[in-house]
Symmetry: C2
Subunit: 329 residues, 2 copies
DNA sequence: TTGAAAGCGCTAACAT
DNA sequence: ATGTTAGCGCTTTCAA
């Protein structure tokens, strides 16, 4: 690995000039040419390690998410990485399993690595964000907002829940249940409240308590919740799940019980990953997840470039893909 | 962010001693105590950036893969990250889209960042690995081997292809087609050859050319290939896909054509991601993907710790989950 | 066991 | 526009 000194010697200029060329600072045409030529010949690649130390900011951003195996976060990661790469940043992948201690550990690492910034999908009780703020490291929250006042990109959960639930009623279902996420998470709470509101307005009374189940956003809990719903004295004829993975679990159980859509109504907030059967009979609210990632990365990079404006929250809306309307009389 | 000097001043020792404490080098009990106390009080976290520069090796490894949105690679990433984290390493996510130019760019970044090592799922024509080798950066190849002689963790593709194809014949299917990956990739080639061998031995003659389709490992090409198979003058009664995503595509097309398993036999190498219907009617060769990631990370970390042994190749085997044997007479 | 000091490769004042 | 130089925070000889 050759250094800036090797290049400067070969080009007959000072190391500072080489640095200037590689940072786009003004340099005379002639020296510019000599430097690039010398660098080319030596296969010189600037040391990001040295630069990070000197500038107290590396060309790396942290992406802190619950679990990359969840297709939602994989998509998000893809959006972030695409955008980051275009801007010359690399992305460090940090899985937290919704554990705030792990989250905090990653905050420390972000500091220790002098990372340029952090994109965070916060766990229910978010880690100690102050550590980042105090170090002056920009943070953008995605998917969920945080207590702390930082930039955020979120989904319009209320609208998503309303659209999905209303679609089920429009398709003719009457007893619409809901499988929601953990109680203490804001976004799922919003979706669940939307469901409750639509049920109330369509049926004239609030949903029975048994029709609301809580899961942890994963497939197995979708299964558990769906099983519980089917065991009710008076089971529902349709279900809304507030995320995609619990939708997968619910569909598995329904399938095993011989209750496939559209015989039983299913609506999912989020997109079913890799469906092997036609998803036309399932109502989905498709979330612009990649866009979520791209937007977050863009905002973060603006901050990294010292954009001084106050914290912003960007709200993205999902797109309703209603099931083919089989109006069951 | 306090530095090693702040700590040394507070503890009344030299900076070198602080460094020694944090690196597990011998230091007297007393000073050890004072240093840890001082560090604790100051909330000192060692600068990885400085360390990386000085040691010419950071606590970061690169994970270079085609696409994190493919659940196979998401699982792999999870295995890698879990293992890396335990050893104190962070993981940089690099999506190549099977583009060797992007791959090479990431090799340069790995060098520029002084990364500790690289885990690489090589694209068909692999990037310029020499850049890494020459810089002395350890590399472990996963999923596919490389031209260059480096450590590798791969799947026993021949066994996987054989088991899956044989299972289809055992279930009573007679005309077994194959949807394989790109022609120039070794692993899919192995799987396809295994299919060919089993077909030949079971039917007494090699498969007709039309029964072999090539795709690019993605859902859409699985669809295209399956459609082509169904349009044959004499269509197959079963199909093997050499990866999971093409299996998804094939199942979609079959479903749309009203040909669902077990009426039409389907075997997939790899696991169907998030199946919404019971996968019991589909033969899968489950690949130990997370284990693949863990093994690769473990091997890499051994190399980082200067393990001098010659390049090793570890072969992992999949597990056959045959469909419930519906023997169609 | 401990400390002093050099230096990893770069950037940014400062001086010219 | 360009060169000189002092660090960024750490690790690692070398001496003591």
């Amino acid at each position: 690995m050759s250094t800036i000194y090797d290049v400067s010697a070969r080009a007959g200029v000072s190391p500072a000039t080489v640095s200037r060329v590689f940072n786009g600072h003004p340099v005379s045409k002639e020296k510019q040419r000599r430097v690039t030529a010398a660098a080319q010949e030596l296969g010189f690649v600037p040391s990001r390690a040295a630069r990070a130390l000197r500038r107290n900011s590396s060309e790396v951003i942290a992406l802190i998410i619950p679990d990359i195996e969840n297709p939602f976060f994989a998509m998000l990661a893809r959006g972030v990485e695409d955008c980051a790469q275009d801007a010359g940043f690399s992305v460090v992948l940090c899985n937290t399993d919704d554990d705030s201690a792990k989250e905090t550990r990653y905050f420390d690492i972000a500091n220790a690595e002098n990372m340029a910034g952090v994109i965070l999908a916060p766990s229910p009780e978010c880690g100690d964000l102050e550590r980042l703020i105090q170090a002056g490291r920009p943070v953008v929250a995605v998917d969920r907002a945080t207590e702390v006042d930082v930039d955020a990109v979120v989904i319009d959960n209320r609208a998503a829940g309303t659209a999905a639930t209303a679609a089920l009623f429009d398709q003719g279902y009457r007893r619409v249940a809901c499988i929601a996420g953990p109680k203490d998470i804001e976004d799922t709470e919003e979706r669940q409240l939307a469901w409750r509101a639509v049920v109330t307005s369509r049926t004239g009374s609030p949903p029975e308590p048994g029709l609301l189940q809580h899961g942890n956003y994963r497939v197995d809990q979708g299964r558990t919740a769906m099983s519980a719903l089917l065991e009710l004295a008076e089971p529902p004829d349709a279900v809304l799940t507030t995320n995609n993975l619990m939708g997968v679990g619910a569909l598995q159980v329904l399938h095993e019980a011989g209750l496939t859509p559209p015989g039983f109504g299913v609506a999912v907030i989020g997109e079913l990953p890799f469906p092997t059967v036609s998803p036309d009979v399932i109502t989905q609210v498709q979330l612009p997840v990649r866009q979520l990632g791209r937007t977050a990365a863009t905002m973060l990079i603006e901050r990294i470039n010292c954009d001084p404006q106050p914290a912003r929250t960007v709200v993205l809306r999902g797109v309703l893909k209603a099931a083919d309307t089989v109006n069951r009389s």
